[in-house]
């Protein structure tokens, strides 16, 4: 009797073991056969990150792209330009080594937008980062605490995702662009009744940040439901406010930082690790090519800064030993000069390459001695200059020195810093 019981026990044990093995096999096979997203973030030990696209590591070698022709304002619908500027630009970009364009907001005509994305990808192998302003520049100010505002922006964002998520050229989504500054009263300030009741201004800032980052997280979560194939990035000015995002934005995959710090990015890579452990895309950085002090174009100055900035990006890729390992690439601001930028309301000025500066940034120190220290020239940030000379219906593109130096850097990245001047 005891023997029968033992036998039965043994056979049950064998059965359980076999069933477990079978389940494990199904699990492993299931995992293996589950398709990876088209684009995803791979995490390594030590909070090092790599972006994966089509199964391969992908370093974003990007440019911000908004090809407004000379004489046109910011509302110009270049997506529908019959001369197809993206084809001319895409060829030049491909020759340079650009693999990504960053778009701040999709055009109004979905057909045109799809055409641009697919042409860029299919002809030149260039992927597109799609962005949305999240109502940041709406008048009078964005109301991130208002339900109506939130619902409208959410609809716009999710419509964009639904429209373009199946385009093979899409790389990721970026939500916002420096909108966090509005939480800290630095630009486009906003509030809610509840925030107004708080008397401590520092706490008010944190409350606003909590509202904003919670909203962005809600968008990210919704996007993931619709589109599991692309990461969602948070477009943040510097790292300001990210200690709040850490608590309320678990669905954010990437921090897309907008940074203008001259020849480097300081401690931003390691800082991000301790504040909000996510991969970082330097989604907007660069330098202008006009020496506001000497009053003339200086391509060397722009090339110097861009080369140094790319060097630091590469020093902090996951594959580079010794760096932070959390950088996945960058997008230079910008591909081509925009002649409307100095004064967007002066239509006459759109045909003039304005050399007057509106703002100061001592990180770009070569021309900081310009009058009132205003050394940043908005209309001179292009890697390629524009000429009024017509070429196939477009302003002729003239690559600047930075175009060639960055191209050489991408071909043969030299990561050692030049000796510090003493």
């Amino acid at each position: 009797m005891l023997e029968v019981r033992l036998k039965g026990f043994r056979s049950r044990k064998v059965f359980l073991l076999a069933a477990s093995c079978l389940a494990l096999c199904f699990f492993i096979v299931g995992m293996a056969s589950r398709p990876k997203p088209a684009v995803w973030v791979k995490k390594f030990k030590g909070s090092r990150y790599e972006l994966m696209a089509a199964g391969k590591p992908y370093v974003v070698k990007g440019v911000c792209y908004n090809p407004i022709p000379i004489g046109k304002g910011q509302d110009y619908d270049w997506w529908s330009d019959p001369n197809k500027p993206w084809l001319t630009d895409g060829r030049l970009m491909q020759e340079m080594g650009v693999n990504t364009v960053r778009i701040y907001k999709a055009g109004n005509n979905p057909g045109s937008v799809k055409k641009v994305i697919s042409d860029m990808y299919n002809i030149y192998g260039i992927r597109t980062v799609m962005g949305h302003w999240l109502g940041f520049w709406e008048y009078p100010c964005p109301l991130y605490g208002g339900k109506e505002f939130q619902e409208r922006v959410k609809k716009e964002v999710l419509d964009m995702v639904r429209l373009y998520k199946d385009e093979p050229g899409v790389l990721m989504w970026i939500l916002g662009n420096e909108n966090n500054y509005s939480c800290f009263g630095q630009v486009n300030p906003w509030s809610t009744d509840e925030i107004d009741k708080e008397t401590d201004p520092a706490k008010q800032n944190l409350m606003r940040a909590r509202v904003y980052y919670s909203f962005v997280n809600e968008l990210a979560a919704e996007i993931h439901k619709i589109d599991p194939n692309h990461p969602v990035a948070l477009g943040n000015g510097e790292l300001l406010g990210l200690e709040v995002a850490r608590d309320v934005s678990p669905d954010i995959d990437v921090v897309a930082c907008i940074i203008y710090r001259g020849k480097g990015f300081g401690n931003i890579f390691n800082s991000l690790k301790s504040i909000f452990d996510r991969p970082i895309l330097i989604s907007e950085f660069g330098a202008d090519s006009y020496d506001a002090y000497l009053g003339k174009e200086d391509q060397n100055m722009q090339a110097f800064f861009l080369q140094a900035q790319w060097r630091q990006i590469y020093q902090n890729l996951a594959t580079t030993k010794g760096g932070a390992g959390n950088c996945i690439g960058g997008a230079m601001f910008e591909w081509a000069d925009e002649w409307w930028k100095h004064n967007e309301y002066d239509a006459d000025g759109w045909s003039r390459h304005d050399a007057e500066s509106n703002w100061s940034n001592p990180s770009y120190y070569f021309d900081i001695k310009a009058a009132n220290n205003k050394n940043m020239n908005e209309e001179w940030f292009g890697i390629v200059a524009l000429s009024k000379e017509d070429e196939s219906g477009l302003d002729r593109r003239i690559p600047r020195k930075a175009y060639y130096l960055v191209r050489e850097f991408w071909k043969n990245p030299v990561l050692t810093d030049p000796p510090r001047k003493k």
Partner: protein, 394 residues
């Protein structure tokens, strides 16, 4: 007799030739010392008033030049020889600068506009003897090199602050590993009226470069904690200077020697912001910089890697004054701060309150902008008067 005459004749003819030859070789050695090779083990800046070995001239008067008197034949009690150098610094701020100093230059008054530097390669330290008339006189910095201009020095080394004693004491500035191939500003000192409110009389003697093979290049210096930005008006432990005025700088008055109820010690900092938008913008602020007015143009950051936080005490004159931001670091330029951190907005209490800027996770390896505040007229329409004290990294 004939033979003796011949010997005397030869001696008579040969002696002047030998003397001439000796003199010529001596001159050659001197010229050689100012050229490429420097075999000597020392190179004198000041021995005695009339010493032929002296080099360089204490001609580069700086800052409040009317506050400095020099006597280069001080005979009452030199360290050695017959004379030393006496400096009387009156701290009267004659030119409104608040500081004074003197450079030893070659040739005199050469601020890098002319050639004149010596090649001092091989020298590894500069030594000098110093004493104060009473003891307690503070020299903010002694310098070697650092002259800029068309013909800049190849090295710039600073040493200090130094609190002098009332007896002679020797000091050594380590120059090992420095490029001394062209030095036109051999030596200098700088001090200010905050460190010496009653002025200072002090003495220097036996200033010289030396080739000491035991000297080793100094390791990168990581500052010890606590590291004061401000302890008291004339504290030798202070670092950085509130020199970086921003925005409507005409709206800001700084008194770093206020005796109105300091939190600790005999003084605190009083800030008056009038909110009048003197320069047309409705905000203002002040950066504490090293050296003064350094907006990232001078390679002079402190390594404060050991700092975990910056603490300071603050109070408003009425209470309710609002400071938008207290900050450390963040100066960007050719030599940028390695990081930044801030708190704010802060509404000040009428009573002293301690505030902390957390530095955990920050890269504090290179800091030029040691402390900063910024506010604006929108949140202080009537202006703001506030006090700061005991600002320190720890």
């Amino acid at each position: 007799m004939k033979r003796m005459f011949l010997v005397l004749a030869v001696l008579f003819l040969a002696l002047p030739t030998c003397l001439l030859s000796a003199e010529t070789s001596s001159e050659t050695a001197k010229e050689g010392s100012s050229a490429a090779t420097l075999a000597p083990k020392e190179f004198i800046i000041y021995n005695d008033r009339n010493s032929r070995d002296n080099h360089y001239i204490p001609s580069g008067f700086m800052g409040d030049v009317g506050d400095i008197k020099i006597n280069d034949q001080y005979m009452a009690n030199p360290h050695s020889g017959a004379t030393g150098i006496e400096f009387v610094y009156t701290a009267k701020n004659s030119q409104g600068q608040g500081w004074s100093g003197v450079y030893w230059q070659n040739p005199a008054n050469n601020w890098g506009t002319r050639k004149g530097g010596f090649d001092l390669s091989g020298m590894t330290k500069l030594t000098f003897w110093a004493k104060g008339a009473k003891g307690g006189e503070v020299i903010r910095e002694f310098m070697v090199g650092g002259i800029k201009g068309t013909y800049p020095d190849t090295a710039a080394v600073k040493f200090g602050p130094v609190e002098l004693t009332d007896t002679w004491k020797q000091y050594a500035i380590n120059l090992a590993g420095k490029d001394l191939s062209y030095i036109s500003g051999a030596f200098g000192w700088v001090t200010n009226s905050d460190l010496n409110p009653q002025g200072a009389t002090f003495y220097l003697d036996d200033i010289k470069f030396e080739a000491d093979p035991t000297m080793k290049p100094e390791d990168h210096k990581v500052e010890n904690m606590p590291f004061y930005v401000y302890a008291d008006r004339n504290s030798i432990t202070n670092h950085f200077t509130p020199s970086g005025f921003m925005g409507s700088y005409g709206d800001v008055k700084v008194d770093i020697a206020s005796n109105t109820d300091p939190y600790l010690g005999n003084s605190c900092i009083k800030m008056v912001y009038t909110a009048k938008a003197a320069q047309g913008v409705r905000w203002a602020g002040v950066y504490w910089q090293n050296p003064p007015n350094n907006w990232g143009t001078v390679d002079a950051g402190f390594d404060l890697s050991r700092a975990k936080q910056l603490t300071f005490w603050a109070r408003g004159e009425k209470g309710g004054e609002r400071i938008e931001e207290f900050k450390i670091g963040g100066i960007m330029g050719e030599y940028s701060d390695s990081d930044s951190a801030s708190i704010g907005p802060v509404i000040l209490n009428k009573e002293w309150t301690q505030y902390t800027i957390d530095l955990k996770g920050k890269d504090m390896s290179y800091i030029i902008g040691g402390f900063c505040w910024v506010t604006n007229a929108d949140v202080n329409p009537e202006g703001a008067t506030f006090y700061l004290d005991e600002i320190k990294y720890e």
